[in-house]
Symmetry: C2
Subunit: 331 residues, 2 copies
């Protein structure tokens, strides 16, 4: 910057001003400086600037995994909605591990992010402490925590699963089985299971047809193995409701291999509306979660937070939708 200033015959400060579009510099001086900047290929060092302004321009962003289009989409939407105001995502994936989450947050805080965005899936005590002390807005996404740290953007997985369950009952299914992970480490999965149980109880039906298999996150392959055990698990069921589309897709291919017809012999329902569900055969009925919307809403929430607007709501609800396709009968 010194070099540029010298070449332009001004002080460093004037160069600094010329580079920020709002700085009070005469048009003539600015254009002269910008020309020299270009000629000398000068690229300002944003870290140095951040140190002085105390604005890092970073958003610490955690996702469970990129290996899942939900999250990837939501990150992409978030990025798109904040990049025009010069914000950068610092991305990390927790791999569904709370201790990894804690470690990531600890290391990201060293970069002084202006906002912290993370999925809610339970946190360690230390994570909560770190987040609170960071003195930075925290946005928890996807599932809504009972005790939010700060802001939330998401929906209730339990309510969504319950809604689907009751809709299935309304469509004539009564012996509905629920497929989920063998552990409840994955909070959102556990919430969906709870929603299923509530729905069944409310309809006076048994919530006890459940298959629990596979470590979170449950995969297509886990679903396939479950599907292959049709006789054992689903002989008296009329519908298989899966905790996510991945196992639903797998279950379908297992059933196909056994010659079990969906939806005539049994219905299959997923959760999440992955792209593959639209193209499975039969196409899978599922719950659409709006990953893009979560990213976008988080982005606009961040913009408002950084402008220090007043009256920003603590919770931004996201709408879910039931998608009916070929894997269920229509009444």
């Amino acid at each position: 910057m010194e070099d540029v200033a010298r070449a332009a015959g001004v002080s460093r400060m004037t160069v600094s001003r010329a580079l920020r579009s709002d700085g009070p510099v005469s048009d003539e001086t600015r254009s002269r400086i910008l020309e020299i900047v270009k000629k000398m290929n000068y690229v300002p060092d944003q870290s140095a600037g951040s140190l002085s302004t105390r604005k890092s321009g970073f958003i610490a962003t955690l996702v469970p995994s990129l290996n899942n289009l939900h999250f990837a989409e939501s990150v992409q939407a978030l990025n798109e909605s904040v990049e025009d105001i010069g914000l950068q995502l610092l991305l990390g994936h927790t791999d569904y591990s709370r201790s990894r989450e804690e470690r990531l947050i600890e290391s990201m805080l060293k970069r002084r992010p202006e906002v912290i965005v993370l999925p809610f899936d339970g946190h360690t005590q230390r994570t909560v402490k770190l987040l609170k002390q960071a003195n930075v807005p925290v946005i928890e996404q996807w599932e809504i925590p009972e005790k939010p740290i700060d802001y939330t953007v998401g929906f209730s997985n339990a309510d969504a699963a319950k809604r689907m369950t009751l809709a299935l009952v309304e469509r004539g299914y009564s012996r509905i089985a629920f497929v989920s992970e063998s552990e409840d480490a994955w909070t959102r999965g556990a919430a969906r299971r709870a929603g299923f149980e509530q729905g069944m109880l409310e309809a006076n039906l048994s919530p006890h047809r459940q298959v629990r298999f596979g470590k979170p996150p449950i995969s297509i392959h886990d679903g396939y193995l479950i599907g292959m055990q049709y006789k054992e698990h689903f002989a008296d069921a009329d519908c298989i409701f899966c905790v996510s589309d991945a196992p639903a897709f797998g279950v379908l291919s297992g059933l196909k291999e056994l010659g079990v017809n969906v939806p005539n012999d049994i219905a299959v329902v997923g959760f999440g509306n992955f792209e593959m569900s639209r193209f499975a055969s039969p196409k899978i009925s599922t719950v659409e979660l709006g990953g893009r919307e979560i990213g976008q809403q988080t982005g606009s929430l961040i913009r408002r937070l950084l402008l220090a607007e007043a009256g920003i709501p603590k919770h931004t609800p996201i709408n879910i939708q039931l998608k009916w396709r070929e894997s269920t009968r229509t009444r």
Copy 2:
């Protein structure tokens, strides 16, 4: 840091040393300082440190899109392989646009990354200029450029497609159709198409059975629409080779809807080995690219670069594999 130093009765410098595991500080002093750090919840500011050491700890990383498990996996693998040495990814997605790529690089350079990782898919002239002037190692991934900027990690898409084509011929297919995007904006797709054509010519077969449809990146839905036009496009073909697994999956569901049997009436082959291909019905034969391996190899390359090791090869080749499944006949 000043506060910690005062509380410990030492100078700031000693605190700084105590926080870096290698600093020459007596064990007693270090443990005392670390205790105070913990009690006061002091989190050092890495930007300030970077300014002084001139090491940002950032890796600028571009991907075409996160909306594709290939890239997501490779990013995840890269991240895992460098996070233990304290490196952070600055992630951006180009959305398959070169001007977006240019803009992202420009903005990331302000963070003074220590390495730049990006997919090769053609660059603008200005991008190349920016990269060269940045005076930082550049790693181009996936496709191998004819004129690499610096380091490369990847494989030749043309060779891979040619290999698959010749293998199909060997399996008895001769009237092979190739499905790809309507534009060649996507360099890797164009390379695959070129490889297909070379393979067919080498086998003395016609490379002219081609369907070009959809904007890059071609989607499952595009494939579906293409599959639905079986009579029009594939009446005299015996195999459909798709530029990626996404359209292959879509083609399959289109054909199924028309009652065309795969592989008896016609074979379908993809490229990329997406997870869905293993669970489609029939399961899709495809080319496995090794996204994780690209991420890992890039990670270990970066480690060697930052240690300034000697004799680092400019190119790291990645192996591809042909995966034979149900969508093709075995000879």
